[in-house]
């Protein structure tokens, strides 16, 4: 009887110009039964975290193609810490050089999806990372 839908914020921070990839992911997650709040292009870290807070999402997906992840991701994580939102898993999609992977994980990113990652894998990862929240977040 009680509905339990996974809510995901999908944002495209940074300045790169198109969001075809992000839209494909958004549709894929919707088709997997999730509620996807898509916020569009050119989001500042402040906008991403504010939207995540208002929408009370279970997960955040960031699509960054511009290579600006090294600046954007730590800033987003910092703002999330300020708001005590660190229990929300953050996923990163886009082109992240191998050298940066460890740094991103250290910053708090749950998983990184490079180009060509299958939709099934993304859906699975989000489900796995949010399952702990299902039980705890009702209070």
């Amino acid at each position: 009887m009680e509905e339990r839908k996974i809510r995901v914020l999908l944002a495209k921070p940074g300045l790169d110009g198109h969001d075809r990839g992000a839209k494909v992911i958004a549709r894929g997650l919707r088709d997997a039964g999730m509620e996807v709040i898509y916020t569009g292009l050119r989001q500042t870290p402040e906008m991403v975290v504010e939207a995540a807070l208002q929408e009370d999402v279970d997960a955040i997906g960031l699509s960054i193609l511009s290579g600006a992840h090294k600046a954007l991701v730590p800033r987003i994580m910092e703002l999330m810490r300020d708001q005590a939102m660190t229990d929300i898993p953050v996923f990163l999609g886009g082109i992240v050089p191998n050298d940066d992977v460890a740094e991103m994980k250290e910053a708090g990113v749950t998983a990184i999806f490079g180009p060509g990652t299958s939709m099934d894998k993304i859906v699975e990862a989000i489900r796995a990372a949010t399952s702990h929240r299902e039980a705890s977040s009702s209070g």
């Binding site: 009887m1 009680e2 509905e3 339990r4 839908k5 809510r7 958004a26 549709r27 997650l29 919707r30 088709d31 997997a32 039964g33 999730m34 509620e35 996807v36 709040i37 898509y38 916020t39 569009g40 989001q43 500042t44 402040e46 906008m47 504010e50 939207a51 807070l53 208002q54 929408e55 009370d56 708001q83 977040s137 009702s138 209070g139």
Partner: protein
């Protein structure tokens, strides 16, 4: 847990967000939240913004909210998009058009998926509106896609309903069919920069005129209830003194938006000065009680009468073994076994 509601009353944004989630997730918790917050509600002006897909509602909401902020009003926004009937998922994209509102703590935006049921959606939206109301937001804008009865029902729970049209939608006829026009307090033709805007305005004015004549010829005979929604249908009386007007806007440039906001605030004043504010509150309350009662009845039926039992009765009626009244009477005694 009720520390959460205390924080809602203080306007804590995280608490507001969490309370709305709880409402969406659990009917029991929704009931508890509404019961506890209800005494602190009733201050906000609830404005429904509805219209066909793509007419520019979100862009308009963005500009209306900015204009309201210029007038120092706190603005809560609930943007509803449909859930996919196949997967239950939803793509909620209204925020894309509301980016200008970021960084303003006088604004709170929440996206909601319709999650199927008509009554459920109206219930969840109006409960979410109560949370924003209790948190101190002065105006609550509720965006819905005006495509069907669910949206009309939501609009019915607003104090002021703005119906948005745009040229070239070819939906003028459809919107009458859906009863959308009849619920409008304010009509907006957005995309006035587009070809055909003048025609759309003309067509709407003509329909308004016809509608008013119909209203006048009906006056004296007060239609008891609206069959589709079960709500008391005294809007035709409400509007005796309120002239529904058609406004033209170009939302991305904010052109015409100040006038729409003037009309929204004027409508509130009109409702307050006449006894219509109370009348609309009564409409809203009637609708809500009805929905809660219906949900309660459905639940009791589900709990106390098994599906096979119900089907048994259905078959018996179909076979002419018993009549439908007798079947319903039997169900009724089973629904409330302890009476």
């Amino acid at each position: 847990m009720d520390d959460l509601l205390e924080r809602v009353r203080q306007g804590d944004r995280r608490a507001v967000a969490r309370a709305i989630t709880q409402i969406e997730r659990s009917k029991d918790r929704a009931r508890e939240i509404v019961i506890k917050l209800y005494p602190e509600t009733g201050m906000a002006h609830i404005v429904g913004i509805t219209g066909a897909p793509g007419t520019g509602k979100s862009t308009l909401v963005n500009e209306i909210a900015r204009e309201l902020r210029r007038r120092d009003l706190l603005v809560g926004i609930i943007a509803v998009d449909p859930s996919s009937p196949f997967t239950g998922g939803a793509l909620l994209g209204d925020r894309i058009r509301m980016q200008d509102l970021a960084g303003d703590s006088g604004i709170f935006i929440r996206s909601m998926a319709s999650r199927g049921s008509l009554g459920g959606l109206a219930g969840a939206t109006s409960s979410a509106a109560k949370v924003l109301d209790a948190a101190g937001f002065d105006v609550i804008l509720i965006e819905t896609v005006g495509a069907g009865q669910a949206e009309v029902t939501i609009a019915n729970t607003a104090h002021t309903t703005v119906v948005v049209d745009a040229p070239g939608m070819g939906d003028e006829i459809q919107s009458i069919k859906a009863g959308i026009l009849e619920i409008a307090d304010i009509l907006v033709v957005n995309k006035a920069d587009r070809q055909g805007a003048a025609n759309t305005v003309k067509a709407l004015r003509m329909m308004l005129h016809m509608g008013q004549q119909k209203r006048q010829s009906r006056s004296g005979v007060r239609p008891a209830t609206n069959l589709a929604t079960g709500t008391a249908n005294n809007r035709s009386d409400d509007q005796a003194d309120w002239a529904v007007r058609v406004f033209e806007t170009v939302a991305p440039d904010a052109r015409g938006v100040a006038e729409v906001v003037n009309a929204i605030l004027a409508h509130r004043q009109y409702l307050k000065q006449s006894d219509q504010w109370l009348e609309r509150e009564k409409d809203r309350s009637r609708e809500e009680i009805q929905q809660i009662l219906q949900a309660h009845l459905d639940l009791q039926l589900e709990r106390n009468v098994s599906n096979t039992e119900r089907e048994h009765l259905v078959t018996a009626v179909a076979d002419r073994e018993i009549d439908p009244y007798t079947a319903a009477a039997r169900l009724f005694t089973q629904i409330f076994p302890d009476r």
